[in-house]
């Protein structure tokens, strides 16, 4: 065998060939070029395009979660819950994914209390998102989730509950499906009540569990609670008194307000007919209407005391000044004003007590129209109260220059001018508060306003209180407004309703008064619209409601009776026993 010559690497004849010097350089340059390109690309990714890539990366594991905030609660003045939001679920579907067996659809429909055909209809739509049912209670939602149906999802939302139901319906209003205020306090205080959802960024793992909190983008802010000036007990009292009056007099509507004379707080505000805010299907406009705020009506005789007070203040009359009301008929221009019966010559106090139109007109004729307009304006007629309540009416007060003499006359007994019930109630604060007017408040006031705007002198207010107490006393128009144990004062009103610019044989009966008359604590205003069971005088329809509300309110507030109660032998003995047990104190 021929021995092969070994060729070592170094002696490889191929290497003997001289390579041209440019070739390795080219290879070298090519390699360097490649690595430069790599470095450049790396620099670009790390430096220039950094943000985009970081964001892409973060989106694989980081999530921004919404942190829900709850809407604030509404409570009454004692902290009892009137409105609260609790979480419920909305059940929604992706129709494209929701391929359900008929049995599954039936089961779902049963749980959601829906019609099977309705449900099928919703699942058949072409949209890619459809709500099946909203505001589903958590237990039902859990049962639906347990079915594990494809394409059926849930989402958290809130539902507002009103434990007070129809008693509180008008004052509170309600919210929509998104928990935003729509009516009443819910709308007036929507800014304070509604919370602001927060957000936070987290890192989730493969199974969707949060493993790390990266940052809180913004903290959630829960809505503030609102404490109303309403007293739940008084509100209920007023509501049940109103409801009974509605039935007894077959009235179309009724409303009542209770004000705290010391602080200007609204203690109760009720309307009838009412509605259940927890179930708002089949609502009518009449039910929703908050008459206390939104309805302006011609107040009628409840206006008279203001004219009398102004005449008193200006020194035109004194309580015992005789006023001749003649035969009960009086002609101004072409119009005739009449009283319900002829009173002849009366004192000024009796004019108010017996509610004589002619007597009041005679007082008004001694006053200038500018003067009267100024009084009405000061009392707040013609300007909205600005409590932030939706739909507040300002009433109607025409400028004094446009008044004709007959109009000035009718306005003095409350026709040709219109006010809302709450405006009228507030105006009566003037008598209850020694001639001063204070702003009203729907929320609890901790420090009572020390002084308000003076309209009448202290002396005039005191005199008018005695006159108004007479109206409730023997010979007055409102004996039925009396409250056992307390002195009360007030004025009835019976006004014809305006229909198409003419006065119809339909009435609004009202009563506005305060108690105790010696040292007023509350102002109560009652209005009954179209009583049609035979009686329509304010003294017969509205005054008994006033009496019931006032009695209950004074007891609830713990106001000491200022009139001797007729002591019964039985009661005396029972009370003595109570005293010996140490709990007989009624006046706390």
């Amino acid at each position: 065998m021929k021995k092969q010559r070994t060729v070592t690497f170094n002696h490889n004849p191929l290497l003997k060939r001289e390579l041209p010097a440019w070739r390795p350089r080219i290879v070298m340059l090519a390699l360097m070029g490649c690595s430069l390109a790599l470095v450049g690309r790396a620099l670009y990714l790390q430096g220039v395009n950094d943000d985009f890539l970081q964001a892409k990366g973060a989106s694989r594991y980081a999530r921004v979660l919404e942190v829900p905030a709850t809407r604030g609660r509404i409570t009454d003045r004692h902290g009892d819950i009137l409105a609260v939001s609790t979480p419920v679920r909305a059940v929604w579907a992706l129709p494209a994914d929701a391929r359900l067996e008929p049995a599954q659809v039936r089961e779902l429909a049963r749980l959601l209390e829906m019609d099977v055909n309705d449900l099928n209809g919703k699942l058949a739509v072409a949209r890619d998102f459809v709500y099946l049912k909203r505001q589903v209670p958590p237990e039902v939602a859990q049962a639906v989730a347990d079915l594990r149906l494809p394409g059926i999802h849930q989402q958290k939302e809130y539902r507002r509950y009103y434990p007070g139901g129809e008693v509180m319906a008008h004052i509170l209003g309600f919210t929509d499906l998104e928990d935003r205020g729509q009516e009443g306090i819910e709308l007036a205080f929507d800014k304070r009540l509604s919370g602001r959802a927060g957000a936070r960024r987290v890192i989730k793992d493969r199974r969707g569990q949060i493993v790390e909190d990266v940052e809180a983008i913004r903290p959630p802010r829960d809505g503030d609670d609102v404490a109303l000036s309403i007293d739940g007990k008084i509100q209920y009292l007023a509501w049940s008194a109103l409801r009974e009056a509605m039935e007894e007099h077959k009235a179309k509507a009724a409303a009542a307000v209770v004000l705290d004379a010391r602080s200007g707080e609204v203690l109760a505000l009720v309307n009838a007919p009412t509605f259940n805010p927890n179930n708002r299907a089949n609502l009518t406009g009449a039910q929703l209407r908050n008459r206390v705020f939104t309805d302006a009506f011609e107040p009628g005789s409840v206006m008279k005391p203001f004219i009398a007070a102004l005449a008193l203040e200006r020194g035109k009359v004194r309580l015992n000044t005789p006023i001749d009301t003649g035969n009960g008929r009086m002609t101004i221009g072409t119009a005739t004003i009449s009283d319900t019966k002829r009173h002849g010559v009366m004192t000024m106090a009796e004019v108010v007590q017996k509610s004589s139109n002619i007597g009041t007109v005679k007082m008004a004729q001694q006053l200038g129209s500018e003067e009267m307009w100024h009084l009405f304006d000061q009392l707040g007629f013609g300007t909205p109260l600005n409590l932030g309540f939706p739909g507040e009416t300002s009433g109607r007060l025409r400028p004094a220059k446009s008044w004709r003499p007959i109009e000035q006359a009718t306005m003095s007994y409350g026709h040709g001018i219109s006010t809302s019930l709450i405006q009228m109630a507030r105006a009566y604060l003037v008598f209850a508060r020694e001639g001063e007017l204070v702003p009203l408040s729907l929320t609890r006031v901790d420090a009572a306003p020390s002084s308000g705007r003076r309209v009448f002198s202290v002396e005039t207010a005191r005199q008018m209180r005695t006159v108004l107490a007479m109206a409730v006393g023997p010979g007055g128009t409102a004996i039925r407004a009396q409250v056992p144990g307390y002195t009360v004062a007030g004025k009835t009103g019976t006004a014809h309703k305006l229909e198409d610019g003419r006065y119809a044989r339909k009435y609004i009966s009202s009563f506005v008064g305060f108690a105790p008359a010696s040292q007023p604590r509350i102002v109560v205003a009652v209005m009954v619209d179209e009583p049609s069971a035979g009686k329509h005088y304010g003294g017969l329809v509205a005054a008994p409601v006033f009496s019931r509300i006032t009695e209950g309110t004074l007891r609830t507030l713990g106001v000491a009776p200022d009139m001797p109660l007729t002591p019964l032998q039985l009661a005396r003995r029972g009370a003595d026993e109570a005293v010996s047990e140490g709990n007989g104190q009624e006046n706390m």
Binding site: L82, V84, T86, P163, G164, Q209, S240, L568, G574, N587
Partner: protein, 88 residues
């Protein structure tokens, strides 16, 4: 020289393990914190529902009905009330 290297490598490995362990610890604690927060929220919700339930039971209408029908209570009639003046 080799010994120093070995020590440094050992230190590096130990610190790496430490990082892993504390990361795990942090995630576990975070999970626990999340659960507690969820529980706090659930309790908050339950509190709201209980308040709602309480005020539903304590509705004035219901209290009045029970007082009248079951307990046969009534408002004191005129003359059944005695006012005691505080001694000054």
């Amino acid at each position: 020289m080799v010994r120093i290297d070995a020590v440094l490598v050992a230190l590096a490995v130990a610190s790496a393990l430490g990082v892993v362990a504390s990361q795990h610890q942090a995630r576990r604690l975070h999970g626990e914190y999340e659960r507690e927060q969820a529980r706090a929220q659930a309790l908050e919700v339950e509190w709201g529902q209980l308040q709602l339930e309480q005020s539903t039971w304590a509705t004035h209408g219901r209290v009045e009905k029970l007082a009248r029908d079951r307990l046969h209570m009534q408002l004191p009639r005129e003359g059944q009330v005695l006012v005691v003046e505080p001694q000054s």
